[in-house]
Symmetry: C2
């Protein structure tokens, strides 16, 4: 029908004849709509094949990573690197500037459908866009889940210690990273602040998982680490919102920084305070609903609305999703919601990690290319700051005799989701370029790699890890 209609473009009577043949009653559709509709199954085929490749990369990567005793998220990232622009070129994106012919997915579609060059680049652009939005929905659901897993009451219990550890652990690497990049590497302010900000947030997911693997989640050190990681997450997201907004305006404006800190704080604190009222309504509504998705749909209406609001007030969608998670964490349906969000997160979150890996062009870190050497130097510098900036937090803990300060410091080292979010958003907004993006990703990979063995040494329990290997799966 495509070729028939293309021919029809040359001849209006032919269109009339064709449609009058179908039925004299029927109103002819606009040509464009028909041609677009004709491409819809091709786009769907491309999206489905992309998802199959992404899931294979994420699962194989996660399992190998798990087997080697590293966090699974690391494997998803590496899986993405392997199917992405650095290696197999299966999952590449139109906004990288590559032509459709360089995409493995598009080559398969080309083979199946014999696309014209115009249709091929249009499908390539659409497929890239759909996968990118799915990845963004993935990180929104991830931050919603992190919000659900975070616990404001737990935070209050571990109290002042956790706050001090979190603040120092955010301030030290941020300041040292930003200033170091600007003075030593002569990086401009915005990318330097972005990279500094990417050093701030400890991964609550990775940290709490590693602690549970070591059987240290309920220890005093574990409680402080988890509490600090929760505050860290909030601070990191505020920093991200501030930095990303700064990157968008293209300049540093102190009044804007204050506005953003205030609006991020008001947005987050305000939604949590108003959330108390919302919670009552939410539970009442959920109890009244009788159809399928009675918990899921109201929860996701709230999460997506908050994410929309976060984006709409020029902060970030993930900030809204995180706030929505924190609010719903306080409801009675919390455990049920946790269980329901898990499969959705399992399905959408890997798309985010794999595409972050797939977009990372590790070629820029090839030391054989002279121009890359400064990129590698940046990566080494970021790693040093990332480790030292968090290690020192153990020694700011006061009033706790006999505490394992090294364990606390090491426990704060792993960066994860939030660091990758910085890399992804920074790259997407054009605030940071590829060497810096890859340097951040390498920093996340290395800190995530180092944390589990380092933490084991810090807790001095080589044997415990072995005996707990069987209950690490979630």
């Amino acid at each position: 029908m495509l070729s028939l209609l293309s021919n029809s473009l040359l001849s209006a009577p032919a269109i009339d004849h064709y449609f009058s043949e179908i039925s004299a009653l029927f109103v002819p559709l606009p040509i464009l709509a028909v041609v677009e509709a004709e491409n819809a199954p091709i786009l769907l085929t491309g999206v489905l094949l992309s998802l199959v490749v992404i899931y294979l990369a994420s699962k194989i990567g996660a399992e190998i990573s798990q087997y080697l005793n590293f966090p699974p998220v690391l494997g998803e990232l590496v899986g993405g690197v392997i199917v992405g622009i650095s290696a197999l070129h299966t999952i590449v994106f139109a906004d990288s500037g590559l032509p459709a012919a360089d995409s493995g997915i598009m080559s398969v579609l080309q083979w199946i459908y014999q696309l014209t060059p115009t249709v091929a680049s249009s499908v390539f652009a659409s497929q890239s866009e759909v996968i990118s939005v799915l990845a963004e929905l993935g990180v929104i659901i991830l931050l919603f889940e992190i919000g659900l897993e975070s616990d404001l009451r737990q935070l209050k219990a571990v109290g002042v210690q956790a706050v001090v550890v979190a603040c120092v652990g955010v301030a030290a690497p941020f300041a040292a990273g930003t200033i170091g990049l600007m003075t030593i590497f002569h990086v401009a302010a915005i990318p330097a602040i972005f990279a500094g900000a990417a050093l701030t947030a400890t991964s609550i997911g990775i940290t709490s998982k590693v602690l549970s693997e070591l059987g240290q989640l309920k220890s005093r050190e574990g409680q402080i680490i988890v509490g600090a990681a929760v505050i860290d997450d909030v601070l990191g997201i505020i920093v991200l919102a501030v930095v990303a907004s700064l990157a968008k305006t293209g300049e540093i404006d102190i009044s804007k920084v204050i506005y953003l800190i205030v609006s991020a704080t008001v947005f987050l604190i305000g939604s949590i305070l108003l959330g108390g009222i919302f919670n009552q309504g939410f539970v009442l509504i959920v109890e009244k609903l009788k159809t399928r998705g009675n918990i899921m749909i109201p929860a996701f209406i709230f999460a997506f609305f908050m994410a929309f609001l976060g984006n709409a007030i020029h902060l970030e969608a993930i900030l809204g999703a995180f706030a929505a998670g924190l609010v719903l964490d306080e409801t009675d349906t919390r455990n049920e919601l946790d269980e329901l969000v898990k499969p959705v997160a399992d399905l959408l979150v890997p798309i985010f990690f794999v595409t972050v890996g797939a977009r990372a062009d590790l070629g820029v870190l090839n030391p054989a290319v002279p121009a890359n050497q400064s990129g590698l130097l940046i990566a080494v510098f970021l790693m040093a700051i990332a480790i030292v900036g968090k290690l020192i937090t153990g020694w700011v803990v006061f009033g706790q005799t006999g505490i394992n300060r090294l364990a606390i410091g090491v426990g704060m080292i792993p960066r994860g989701e939030v660091g990758l979010v910085f890399a992804g958003i920074g790259a997407a907004s054009g605030a940071i370029d590829k060497p810096l993006e890859v340097a951040i990703i390498v920093m996340v990979i290395i800190t995530t790699f180092l944390a589990p063995p380092f933490l084991r040494v810090a807790f001095n329990q080589v044997a415990v890890n072995e005996s707990n290997q069987n209950n690490v799966s979630s």
Copy 2:
């Protein structure tokens, strides 16, 4: 940054200056990628707001429908009609030919971001495409779930009776509908076959839900209805694959019909037979996996790969997803998988139903417009065939003394997901036009509306329904 770069288009040195300011080390990004990346948060904002509106429409519609004792899916469809092109114009699609300014979502984005006309229509096109793909993923997951809920063993138990009911219930309305449309209404062969095919498949979801609401799921009549609905579903999907492929080629080719019937049958039966071997592997793999999503991701790799294959061999993605569901239904992890797929289906399936409703332009059925009257006549004709064509199936049951033949016939009446899939795919491929699409949707709505009260009368149990109202929620 957008305006900065737009200005820079006029002046290459300005770009160099801007980028050299950031860092001498950094490779400048292509202009296009930066502009696209700049629009990415706008697209995301639009998608998030669309999802909020879609979920509100689906949940409010489903709950009102449930309250009025109609199937929830009906309310989702009506909710879609209300937010769609027929009424509020909140969710409209670029392929309808409407400009961005006619979309409620785009008006909000316009107000937030002050878009230029070019950016507005580009974002509108992308947002339409993303929501359409999400809806298609929704129907793929729905058919995967229907496959999981279907049971080949149950089918064998109710045996010959169910097969006869299913075959007559497919053949009678298909033949009567197609021939009637061609002879009485002078509709061309392809749209007539499409509409006839849309009359075939009983909704297993709606039927089994209504039966359970009436407490008749385990009765002899209930068993035959459910068994027949399962076979019906498979037949309907084969018919859909055949008809949709026919619509794509634009002509009727008997050898192609045979090829498609054979390939659909081979694809479905073959994947179920090979599925036996796959099942062993699937269970072994799932047992070995230790990371999150150990059941979900392998299951969805299989479902999406089968859906991809269905599309790639020029059948339909949903056929592959249904086959994947049937195969995985036979595994030991079936119950666990059912529970995991539910929240994902709860989140994605409503997008499909709401967008089907939103795309349906009920304005074409306004009887005040003379040109619409034949469309209304078609709808009345389709409804009559839809009801009579299934009612007679009760009287083809043999060897079962004292069976409630009226109940079986009425139980087969509700059309649902598959009928809407026909309407959606038919409209998307350009095979059927809007009056016929709306006539099919009206037929689905009316049969779905009529089935619950009719079935209650047929089972002669007005009181039972009242006493069972409390356990209707899933």
